[in-house]
Symmetry: C2
DNA sequence: CGATCATCGGAACACATGTTCCGTTTTGGC
DNA sequence: GCCAAAACGGAACATGTGTTCCGATGATCG
């Protein structure tokens, strides 16, 4: 009865081309990339793009979703002190983000309306909470630091990554270390 | 021959109303305020607005110019160590900025095309350079900190101010202190 | 008070970008 | 190879916002 229709070959191919084109364009030109440019890059009509993704937001969600989810699912590395876990998390996450203009734009933008982004920011606070909790044992964070502070510091670092000239991504670790020196407990110096 | 015409009273009055309305709207609603809203608030036609300020950018320059100039002209307070001078400068500048959404948006935006803004960012680096120089005497900054680092840290703080909920401007000092702990020399603790 | 002309108001235009629609083309089953 | 249905391309539409233009208005001067 409900016969399972196989998708036409061109449909599958076009979707793949669109996703691929959108991924590249967003990574290289940031969030402001417009729909026509993506369609053109994919070698596809604008109508075809819209048949696959009914709105711009659907497309963005599809493309940035992977990265946001990865960020939202990553946890603090276990077995480390609060400060060292944050160091590893921040560095890894920012190195990843730095490869993708759209992701950086997203996390540096004021419009936090996108639901999956909001979830992501929420998650940063959860990470912060975990670090604060961990610090009640190891005392590696200054005692007045809150979960929110940690989320804000991460977003501040994202802003710095956004400002960094293209070649300069090697500086990320330096900036992470500066930030962490700012929130670490005063007696935790090596 | 070239008789100096005195300006009509309504012209002067309208210009004042426009500047006043624009200042309020930009301060309260940020950079995205549109021209029609400003004209309406001023009780003036859109045409009148454009006769006084030929483009949106001219208007923005007029309104944000004061604040940008003040920021660009403020120097590091003399007679203090590098770190304390930066503390005073950062805190004062950010407290000021926090009162004005448009200024925060401007310094948090990626479009650094506006010439007076660019001058302003340039000036932040000059401030940084001055602090680095001062630190060669007092050794209050970590030795690997550059002028650019200081400019970036300021802009990162601006981002945090942008994220702060309306009532929370009292937290600015805390964040400034976190940032400075991140760049201070390791032996300068009180 | 009346004439003149700078100024005003806001409709209309320009332009960029998201989205829809429909005539044309392609696919896949026979 | 033929056909019906599905999908395509891109012109056209919708919308938001900056900008221009011109007939109406009203400030100034004699």
């Amino acid at each position: 009865m409900t016969k399972v229709q196989r998708q036409r070959r061109d449909v599958v191919a076009n979707r793949a081309r669109i996703v691929s084109a959108a991924t590249t364009m967003l990574r290289e030109h940031g969030l402001s990339t417009d729909m026509r440019a993506i369609a053109k890059k994919a070698g596809v009509g604008i109508g075809t793009l819209y048949r696959h993704f009914p709105t711009r937001e659907h497309l963005l969600q599809e493309i940035t979703g992977v990265g946001l989810t990865r960020l939202a699912e990553s946890m603090l590395p276990p077995g480390l002190t609060a400060i060292d876990a944050l160091r590893q998390f921040f560095t890894a996450a920012l190195d990843q983000l730095a490869r993708n203009r759209a992701m950086v734009d997203l996390l540096a933008s004021t419009e936090v309306s996108d639901s999956s982004l909001e979830r992501c920011v929420q998650h940063l606070t959860d990470i912060g909470r975990e670090a604060v909790t961990r610090s009640t044992r190891d005392r590696t964070l200054a005692t007045d630091i809150t979960a929110t502070d940690i989320a804000y510091q991460f977003l501040a670092l994202v802003r710095i990554v956004q400002l960094l000239p293209d070649g300069r991504t090697g500086d990320i670790e330096r900036y992470v270390n500066m930030t962490l020196r700012g929130i670490e407990h005063r007696h935790s110096q090596k």
